[in-house]
Symmetry: C2
Subunit: 994 residues, 2 copies
């Protein structure tokens, strides 16, 4: 809370500023303009707002009147349904007739260009210079920001760099003609803002050191030129993900250019971390005697940060309310102003309360005027900028420069900022808020909010008692302890190298004479351990143990079985990095992929435990008096779980956990490549308290054990994940009722995929390119969900392929344990041979667009490979390859794209990048795969949210991690009791009544 006398002065100052701007309205909120009217409509209509923002987003890529008209119809409805406000301009312009659509499109195009031009200073250096001159004449300084955040390749990063270098040249020449602005006489006339991630397309917190170095190199070149030109250089703060990297880059750059004071950094007061970051920065600056400069902003990615954190399961990095952010802004501003001797301050806000607070705080601290300035976004809050300029004489406008296309993202963000409920500008200029409220100390507002929250009636008490399932959090590599955990865990795992992993039967370890070594595919000479191999006899013993344990386990209450899964989840959580490290070494998963695998295993444990508690309650059917019908589900017997190597913990754990929690006992065969990870899973369950014999572990020769189990008369069900060939064999063999068999076997099988992503003509390539790459080449493409075909609409083919290949070139190959590498070796020599054979096939069938260079050393390397020109009849379009090989197919239209996408007899995952509502809806209906993803990667299904599994020949229609899954592991039974005796029927039991 501000001291009350200071606060009084702030309020008074604010009132004076408000008085000065009187009834002026910024263009955006002026009902005299089309933009103003449309924005006003958005404020009243959430659905229209969404459509408008999305349309603005896609607009730059729409070519020709037809495409534009179609999109207008899809977003806003047919002519007669169009919101009047949208049509008005067009009606006035063209008297909507049969040509209505085209005319409307034209009018909207004109208007949108107008709108963009309001926020973007110029599209060429000439235009830029011209506009800067005008601003300068009005008394405004400028900071230039080059649009184009998403650089996907070194080429694109390079272009971004080149633009800055060129800009510096142009501006340096231009500058000479400007007179210094009186209020900003001490500051450089040239001022540039730069987005660090745009300079390096691979920036990624997992590879912290590499990212810092990757950004520093081009940034250094800009800094050198800036120094030469005497320009100011500000490093922008982007999303939370790269905050630490940016801070480190800034410190490194400052050290390199110790003597140059005009290098600054932006901080965002909406981040919970920022006050600490600021304190550290100020202390560091004082300690190092380095003069710094800070631009303080509120932060522009609130929606994004919130959504991302919630989806990832992370603590939300941004403050939850506007007043909290505003209060932090005032505190941080004061902290900076107190250090004004070391730190120059740029106050970047349109909020009159914040500005008044800075002014009055500075005055109370006696900060010289030349130690701080005000910055505002070009195109917004014109009355405020004029008012502050009049009051202070030093206002710098943040001016985006660049083409309309990359600028639309910027435009949407600005519109969002202006139309958000809590926006100061919206409240000031579009709302009816009283000035008194707008000028209230944000700390006071916050206290009131918090008191209200405390007093609020707590939510649904029932749901509080039974906490809903939540996914385990993803690895947050922004945290140094997470980055440090991996090398430590890898070292620990290596410390155990050479172990002999025994079988586990009837609760006891069983050693066998035969063992096979488990190798690191990135360094095949490295043997991680030896895995005992089960023969026919051991499998038979495991079957007997599982059979003997079954009756007692089935009779164990569902709640007790679920509790064991939950304990296993807790143990896995405690050993998360170790379990991930095993996978890094044993099968070559990258850090994040291995972490995700363990998290998914934990999810399966928690989710199936919760599900079983739901299904374990007898369900009453019917409500007639005199009878009670209860539906109960119970385990079937001994389950064989035959697991793959590509998700060696998660998938095995999911199948085992589902079988166990439903009351079945299990004979578990891991993949031959990941016996050690499989053994870890068994240890988890044993430590969680699973009774002897309930889970048995029989690594060994796949085909022999698979055949033995699938034809065993005592097997009740088989859960299998693996290849179509093996799955098909299991399905066929399990269908035969053998002598002595007492039940039909149930098979739960997930098999292959030949997954396609369709890239529509209006796709956002900034999203499509990296997501296609991640889907196709993550973990070397060794996922059943991986993308192996990308079907690109003719209209966008060239641009997509160009950016795709350029982006692919940036991927570095090397051992998975080193986060500097994006792709590692494939699982084994046989896979290496198979994939290389397919590359030869591809060379005959299509055009090799790219094959990455291979690292030195003895790993099972295959290149990251992209072919173009693949057609549906080609083997590359039909056969599962299971490696880093992507086939690009060029489709004439969306019909053909859908037909091609559905052509293989696999139907596992699929994707679509499109901004056409009609095509998105159509894909939902007609692109028939188990898991379809719109505008995102097609791998990484989350338990509970995206139950996973395919149909056709990809799977049997079970959905792992979904609410129907456990039903496949149980038999349903109905128990009906006639409760009428001697004419007397008691009131019905309530238990489980629905």
């Amino acid at each position: 809370m501000q001291p009350s006398d200071l606060n009084e002065r702030i309020v008074a100052r604010g009132q004076a500023l408000f008085a000065a701007i009187a009834d002026e309205k910024p263009a955006l909120f002026s009902s005299a303009t089309w933009t103003g009217r449309v924005l006003q409509w958005s404020l009243q209509n959430e659905e229209f707002k969404t459509s408008l923002f999305r349309f603005v987003d896609v607009f730059p890529v729409l070519h020709g009147s037809q495409q534009l008209t179609e999109h207008i119809r899809q977003y806003f409805g047919a002519d007669e349904q169009l919101p009047p406000v949208l049509a008005t301009g067009a009606r006035l312009a063209g008297k909507l007739g049969p040509l209505g659509g085209a005319l409307l499109a034209k009018a909207i195009t004109v208007n949108l260009h107008e709108l963009a031009r309001q926020f973007i200073l110029g599209e060429s250096t000439e235009e830029l210079a011209q506009r800067l001159k005008v601003l300068h004449r009005e008394g405004f300084a400028a900071v230039i920001d080059v649009l184009g955040e998403a650089t996907l390749s070194h080429a694109e990063s390079g272009e971004y760099l080149a633009t800055y270098l060129r800009l510096l040249e142009v501006l340096a020449a231009e500058e000479r003609r400007w007179q210094a602005l009186p209020g900003l006489a001490g500051a450089p006339a040239i001022n540039l803002a730069v987005k660090p991630t745009a300079l390096y397309c691979l920036a990624n917190p997992m590879d912290f050191a590499g990212s810092v170095a990757g950004i520093l190199a081009p940034l250094r070149r800009i800094a050198e030129r800036a120094v030469a030109a005497g320009a100011f250089l500000c490093i922008d703060m982007e999303s939370y993900r790269t905050k630490e990297i940016t801070l480190e880059v800034y410190r490194r750059l400052k050290r390199e250019f110790r003597d140059y004071p005009h290098i600054g950094i932006a901080l965002q007061s909406y981040l919970r971390d920022s006050e600490d970051d600021l304190a550290e920065l100020l202390a560091w600056s004082a300690r190092e005697q380095l003069p710094i400069s800070i631009r303080l902003v509120k932060g522009a990615y609130w929606d994004f940060e919130t959504v991302r954190a919630r989806q990832m399961g992370w603590e939300c990095p941004v403050r939850s309310s506007k007043s909290d952010t505003d209060a932090a802004f005032e505190r941080m501003a004061a902290a900076i102003l107190r250090q004004h001797r070391f730190c120059y301050f740029a106050c970047a806000s349109h909020n009159i309360r914040s500005i008044a607070a800075v002014l009055e705080t500075a005055r109370s601290l006696r900060v010289p005027d030349d130690r701080y300035e005000f910055q505002m976004l070009y195109g917004m809050a014109e009355p405020v900028r004029r008012g502050i300029l009049a009051a202070t004489g030093r206002v710098r406008l943040y001016c985006p420069y660049g083409a309309l296309v990359p600028g639309m993202g910027y435009l949407v963000r600005r519109l969002l900022e202006n139309t958000a409920n809590e926006s100061f500008l919206r409240q000031t200029f579009a709302g009816a808020a009283e000035i008194e409220k707008l000028l209230e100390d944000p700390e006071a507002v916050l206290s009131r909010l918090r008191a209200q929250e405390r007093d609020a009636v707590p939510g649904d008490a029932a749901s509080a008692n039974a906490p809903a399932f939540r996914n385990e959090a993803a690895a947050d590599f922004t945290r140094p302890e997470v980055r440090a955990a991996f090398p430590a865990a890898l070292a620990a795992v290596r410390g155990r190298a050479g172990e002999t992993a025994p079988l586990f039967i009837a609760g006891r370890d069983v050693l066998t004479a035969t063992t096979v070594p488990s190798r690191n595919p990135n360094r095949p000479a490295e043997i991680l351990g030896h895995v005992c191999q089960a023969g026919t006899d051991e499998v038979e013993r495991a079957m007997a143990a599982a059979g003997a344990a079954f009756p007692a386990w089935r009779a164990t209450p569902a709640m007790a079985r679920a509790a064991i899964l939950r304990r296993a989840a807790t143990l896995a959580r405690q050993r998360l990095y170790e379990l991930a490290a095993w996978q890094v070494l044993e099968i070559g998963k990258q850090w994040d992929q291995a972490h995700a695998d363990v998290s998914e295993a934990i999810d399966f444990l928690d989710y199936y435990a919760a599900e079983m508690l739901r299904l374990g309650v007898p369900q009453r059917l019917g409500e007639l008096p005199g009878e009670e019908n209860f539906l109960i589900y119970e385990g079937r017997g001994v389950a064989a779980v035959i697991a793959p190597w590509n998700f060696p913990l998660a998938i095995a754990c999911g199948m085992v956990a589902a079988a166990l929690v439903t009351g079945n006992t299990v004979v578990f065969k891991p993949s031959g490549l990941t016996g050690l990870t499989g053994r870890r899973l068994v240890e988890l369950f044993a430590a969680a308290g699973l009774p002897d014999g309930v889970l048995n572990f029989v690594p060994g020769a796949g085909s022999a054990i698979g055949d033995q189990l699938s034809a065993h008369p005592d097997i009740a069900l088989i859960a299998f994940t693996g290849s179509l060939e093996v799955g098909q064999r299991i399905v066929e063999r399990a269908a035969v009722v053998c002598p002595g068999q007492r039940q039909f076997k149930r098979v739960i099988a997930e098999m292959g995929g030949k997954n396609a992503i369709i890239v529509d003509a209006d796709a956002d390539l900034d999203e499509a390119v990296p997501q296609v790459l991640a889907s196709a080449f993550g973990f070397q493409g060794q996922k059943c969900s991986a993308c192996s075909r990308v079907i690109v609409l003719e209209a966008i083919h060239e641009r997509f392929v160009e950016r795709l290949v350029a982006a692919a070139r940036a991927w570095r190959l090397g051992p998975a344990e080193d986060p500097a590498f994006d792709m590692g070796a494939v699982a084994e020599a046989a896979a290496q041979r198979r994939i290389r054979d397919f590359i030869e096939v591809g060379k005959e069938e299509g055009e090799l667009l790219y094959a990455s260079p291979l690292p030195e050393g003895e790993g099972y390397w295959v290149p990251l490979t992209i072919f173009a020109g693949i057609r549906p009849e080609h083997r590359l379009a039909r056969e599962e390859i299971f490696g880093p090989l992507l086939a690009v197919m060029r489709a004439a239209d969306f019909d053909q794209a859908i037909a091609w996408a559905n052509a293989p007899s696999f139907a596992l995952t699929g994707g679509l990048f499109s901004r056409s509502p009609a095509n998105i809806a159509r894909a939902g209906n007609e692109f028939r795969v188990g898991n379809l993803y719109i505008n995102r990667a097609i791998t990484g299904a989350m338990v509970g949210r995206q139950p996973f599994g395919g149909c056709a020949l990809s799977g049997l229609g079970t959905k792992a991690g979904g609410s129907d899954y456990l039903l496949h592991f149980m038999d349903p039974r109905i128990v009906t009791e006639n409760t009428l005796r001697r004419g007397f029927a008691p009131a019905a039991k309530g238990a489980g009544q629905t």
Copy 2:
């Protein structure tokens, strides 16, 4: 409403009667007695009341202290948990120590005998005579009612008859010693009540004429003796089911004994029909100049009638409130009193208001005292009976006579009557109701109740909008129009005899050269029609048609598909009797069985339609911002439906409807024995508006078509119901992926059973015997759910077998179309041979207890056959016979019974008759069948309430008519959309959000 002056007199009279009984309490409500205290406790504790009533019910069959103690513990808890009131007597008696249980058992036994003796006048004729003398001395007349309602065999009916004849003899001798009671000088001293259904064990409204004749024969003999002895004979009214039969019996008897005035009938004022019945009876009596006598009661089966009507889907025959019944009582009493010259009136009520109303109404109508009397139940309401005796001098007590065992049912009914919330006696003697209220005109109470109902807020508005599924009503053969409908429908169907039923492919009838005749199994020479036979080509054409129709049908909205099912249901409802008649003739179903089959078909249509509306809505998963995940289900392709002959409409309709409503197209092969019924199903769907090609009909050779379909690459799923052998072949063949096949086939198969009913040592044989018979021999045992083994506990084996065989002897064999017969011919000659072979096997393995005689004529007859001495290793205990052959197995204890029950590898249905809560709970857990039924027949699963299907080798764990069933016909798909674009995520869509 009574005229107000009359009502005033009634109230005044009532007040006088109340004053006369002052503070007297009947023994049942006296806190001085153990009974009184226990009953008081029951009134406060619903659960205890249920346990008490059930314990009283089972008590008579418990032998020995151990069995008794165990039941006490199971019903009331262990010693320390015993309700104090129950233990008190025992504590006082024996200071509960280590021998507590046994002593408690002894005390309770003594108390219960005491309780029973309060209601039952005597167990022997000597005792009876003695007690009657005492009553007579007190001034009470008596009507004697012989206990033992459930007579299951002619032998038991015969015993019942013999008891009456003997009783008449004894009483005639006794009577001579009695002085006439002054108030009842004109009435016969001997007065007997007789329950008509006890005289004829087969009474059944479906066979109305046979039932009337069957009852009349023995009743005539009683009447002859009664006339000879000058005794009064009253025909009791039992449940609504036999009300019409009883009225007809009475009229017939009265006509036969025109000159004898002392034959009466009881009417129940709680029946909605009774006022009309009374009016008719009075009119008939006047018309025929036959003096009659009516005992008017309120009615004692209210719970039973309500439960039964709701379970059967019938309008409830009883009035819904006590005041409604009381008002009807007063109206009916007045009607009778007005006709006092023809009709003698016995007013049977303990309700002082009712009695006062009769007294005052009689006075106002000037009815002579000797034209009406008052009757009350022995053992209840002693103060009332003394009061009325004092006031009128003519009270007759209704005195049950007989052994304790059959008397317990009577006892429970009496306890229920006394403890029901609305009971007049409870309110008078145990409650705090004011006399004013108790004497209020019931019509006035009723008006108030109805006004309250009208004003009540209507229930859940949502559930009113989406009416829940309700089962189609069962055939109500008490209604003459239902009885008349069958002969008419049979004649109509015969009128179509000779039709040639074509195939149906792509919406068109297809005639083939080859046809097979469809015969009436009861008269094989009768050919009902000729069914065209599909060959390989026709099946291929049907496959092509179904394949072509699939995409459009899948794309048809779920709501539209469901609407077609609902239209088909409406059509089936309109043609219900005709569709039933086809089955009576084509496969030999009895009327009720055929009606049930059609009702079940309608249920499947309605239920699956409702289910699809539920599942057709995309289900939102997860609730995180920035993503939308929808789970959708959709049809898989072409479904083969291969149907059995035993439920030729219901099962075929269920499978076809499920396949269709989920969006699959169908190739339907009916059984070769029921091609005409199968054709009717196809006609229903066509008439309901199913598009061409969606349902195709290919009757033909089972094995050839089954093989062709199960191995067809274009088949997506197969729904099969039939034998294990065929099912297993289909499962195996369908598992093989053929060339060109694009998806794994799904098989939904219901196969055989070897179903057992366990008869526990404490079973209620009055229930167990007829339900076992119905389960084993209904429709000649040709149901997969039929009982083929009855496993009887040693302790009860002899008594059970004796009653079972005696009851079986009553079953009459003959053509199904004649409701006089209980069992008809089996389906075909091959079945006849197979079953006869099994009878020969049975003769070697066990002891032939009974083989019924066979009718004349050429039907496929096999005897109703019962073997004893069957052990688990016998073929009769393991192999499915599918005919009217029941194996009785004698088990040493419950453990063995459960083990034997579970022994076969079938696990379809099972049953248990037991009154041991522990054994009932244990069977629920351990008797592992798809459908377990406690204390009822094991056939007749109801859609929605008892989803049907087995596990082990009986089925694949799908449950027809259950909420998981449709899932098997669909593929689940997940559509995930990333809704975050440019950092902006709109509010989530609500559609289908859960």
